[in-house]
Assembly symmetry: C2
Homo-oligomer: 451 residues x 2
């Protein structure tokens, strides 16, 4: 079957874009953390207009397809299982088209976040979602997983940026909602449904994205605070008082040490501190006065460093953004990406550290949304008890078991912690309706059906 | 059957909440414009916890159910067809719960927009969607139709405000996504799918809504401009330069005359003008300086009036908001609610007036989103040729046949003008998956299946 399918895919996409060699395939079969490894029958790199034919060929052969963007996902959603065909979307990388009058960008699925940011340099606009994996993460993958990042509490996650999209469905048909009209109230919100569906309902090929006005001035501040409680109080004091605040990140001394050692950089201040809060402001006026006025209402920091130039700001952001990379260098962590209501953050942070002992938790995240990344170093990758332990703790605080990384492979067994049987049944019904033969990214997102 | 169903519904919801009397039923069977009239077998007014039982009873009897909020919809979506059971949701009206820390409101489906606005008075927050039917329109109905209004180009329509919801599905099961977590990336976006589904996929019973900071200062301006082209130029000049601009509305001398005569009010200025633009600004500082600076880049108005006090602002808004009421008094208009790309607005406005001659078009709308309400007075209600004429013109300009009113009964035949066969097939598959027996609001939203 594979032999025939390879020929058929070569006919549709060109032989040079069908990869069967196991060594070349290998990089598409494992994720950056080393936790998720699978096996692909083939990797195919279609051009955009070849995608419907590729999906039809796979459907005809009964072969599962796994869309893959930049392979930066942290939940294993993009990793093939049991010999699926990987649809690598890197040839869908036409130059982004910026519509200044409408404040919209039109991008193909394989365009990276950094590419879009470059295309917007010199325009009065920027893109509202940003995160540390910008150089490799593609906008198609970010939409498919409803990626979040640091500015969600101000601007929303990917779903809030997607005005329209084009996608190839399981039967090779193409849904096109790319008019770019903000008000277009004709039937069900298929774009919103496809965003966050992790390739299980369709393959996103193009996006029409909302842009936001670029602010003339940016300011980054790194503050030491005595405790997690004080970090939460700080956010509460600033959120409404400082409209220019667009990011409010949290990390701890353990992460500062990890990043400093890994990157061989000196922390901006060396002082005993309970937690670090990284603030980013963006305004038409320099935001320092507004931020300073807001900080009058917040707990006094133990130490602080500010920068309003690009190099200085990047130096401060590095301590937050290099956490993931430093952790990957330190081992294969159990990665958790959870939301906890703000009034439970401090308690949860204490409890989760205790719960995973004697393993060690490295905690950081997007305080503005109550989104914590809990990384547990120590237990072997196949230890699912630690997963249950942490996620049940999250659920007991009314939190979410996946804030922004999605479900992928890693969390599907735990979906019932966050979704009721009626909810899961409705999701299954939608999946079955749009992909009756289950060829789109099987083994991801929905929990295994127990019969 | 109806007799048995009435008894069963009385058992679930109480006999006093099951209305069979044709005279009492009548007000639930027709819309405010007089265009849509139908027949209900019964009207039932369940409490929230009775709703699953009511839906199950109707499903068991094979009776269709039509959810109805404030009966302010303009597309006939809330009007029963062929003896369906009307689910009147006015008993789902618990006092809104405002969570100040999270900047969220939790409301039952039958709460009106005006009720929510009252509940928010005295808090630092407001609700981002507003429109003229606020005193009767319910938030459940607004969510079910993805209502828009005047501030969409800044804050999005209803879907962008819905953080979570509870809904009863066709089998009486309840989907609950009301944690209020901003980042909760666990599976498909059922809330976003239910928003705008017009009661065809489920009955929304509760909403968790995003709130926005209330700005201390508001300013309303009514400007006369020489032409529709100049109105569009005005918007382009102000949109990015005036961040405090939250509404930019358009109407014409014919509407000004209609409203002035109907409400017996004097226009703020009497001067030959091609079009009127109504601007609303909201800022932490008085917005006049910012607006004046923006207007330096715009075509010079022929006349202007400003108000920053509540009474004065309401006087100016009246000329825009009383259009619908004045039109209903003037006849039974063919109402169109369309979006046209901004660079086509002026041309479309000229063409549509010519196209409907000798009938008369009254045009107004939300310029900020390219959303025009075209009301054609003259042709009899059953004249569908005029509908086809106008909507095909919209489609030829790359516009949307329904901007914010939804599809309901009125536009279902025209859905193929805005959605491809693959798109409609996907919507049908979802409808069938979630409502296999077709009991939820049949004859609405999806085009009739031609076999």
């Amino acid at each position: 079957m594979t032999r025939t399918l390879a020929d058929e895919l070569a006919r549709v996409a060109g032989r040079e874009h069908v990869i069967a060699d196991p060594e070349v395939r290998a990089s598409y079969e494992r994720d950056v953390t080393g936790r998720y490894r699978g096996e692909a029958a083939l990797v195919v790199r279609p051009a955009r207009d070849q995608l419907p034919g590729v999906v039809r060929a796979c459907a005809a052969a009964g072969a599962a397809v796994v869309p893959q963007g930049g392979n930066t996902g942290l939940a294993g959603g993009q990793i093939p299982l049991g010999g699926a065909v990987v649809l690598r979307l890197d040839r869908l990388d036409a130059e982004p088209r910026i519509d200044r009058a409408a404040a919209q960008a039109r991008v193909e699925a394989g365009v990276t976040l950094a590419d879009l940011q470059r295309a917007l340099a010199g325009t009065p606009y920027e893109f509202a979602v940003d995160h540390g994996a910008r150089s490799a993460a593609t906008l198609g993958g970010m939409a498919a997983t409803n990626a979040g990042g640091s500015q969600v509490f101000r601007h929303g996650a990917m779903r809030a940026q997607v005005i329209g999209l084009e996608a190839v469905l399981a039967d090779g048909s193409v849904v096109t909602r790319t008019s770019g009209l903000i008000k277009d109230n004709v039937g069900y919100d298929l774009p919103g449904l496809l965003v966050g569906s992790e390739g299980t309902l369709g393959v996103i090929t193009e996006l029409v994205l909302r842009l936001i006005p670029r602010r003339a001035h940016r300011l980054t501040g790194l503050l030491g605070v005595a405790s997690t409680e004080q970090a939460v109080e700080l956010l509460a004091a600033l959120r409404d008082r400082v409209p220019s605040l667009v990011a409010c990140e949290l990390f701890f001394p353990e992460g500062m040490e990890l990043v400093s050692a890994h990157r061989q950089v000196e922390p901006p201040f060396r002082i005993e501190t309970g937690a670090y809060v990284l603030l980013e402001c963006a305004g038409d006026e320099p935001p320092l006065d507004e931020l300073a006025a807001g900080l009058e209402h917040a707990p006094r920091p133990t130490a602080e460093a500010f920068a309003d130039d690009t190099a200085g700001r990047e130096r401060l952001w590095l301590f937050r953004e290099a956490h993931n990379e430093a952790l990957n260098a330190a081992g294969v962590p159990h990665k958790f990406d959870v939301t906890v209501p703000l009034d439970r953050i401090a308690r949860f942070e204490r409890e989760v550290r205790r719960a995973v002992e004697p393993s060690r938790a490295v905690v950081y995240g997007h305080l503005g949304d109550g989104n914590l990344h809990v990384n547990v170093l120590g237990p072997p990758p196949e230890d699912t008890e630690i997963d249950a332990l942490v996620l049940e703790l999250v659920a007991s605080h009314g939190g979410s078991i996946s804030a922004e990384h999605g479900i992928g492979q890693s969390r599907r067994a735990f979906v019932p912690l966050g979704r009721s049987p009626a909810d899961i049944a409705a999701m299954r019904a939608i999946k079955h309706a749009l992909d009756p033969n289950g060829i789109l990214n099987p083994g991801k997102l929905l929990p295994a059906l127990v019969v």
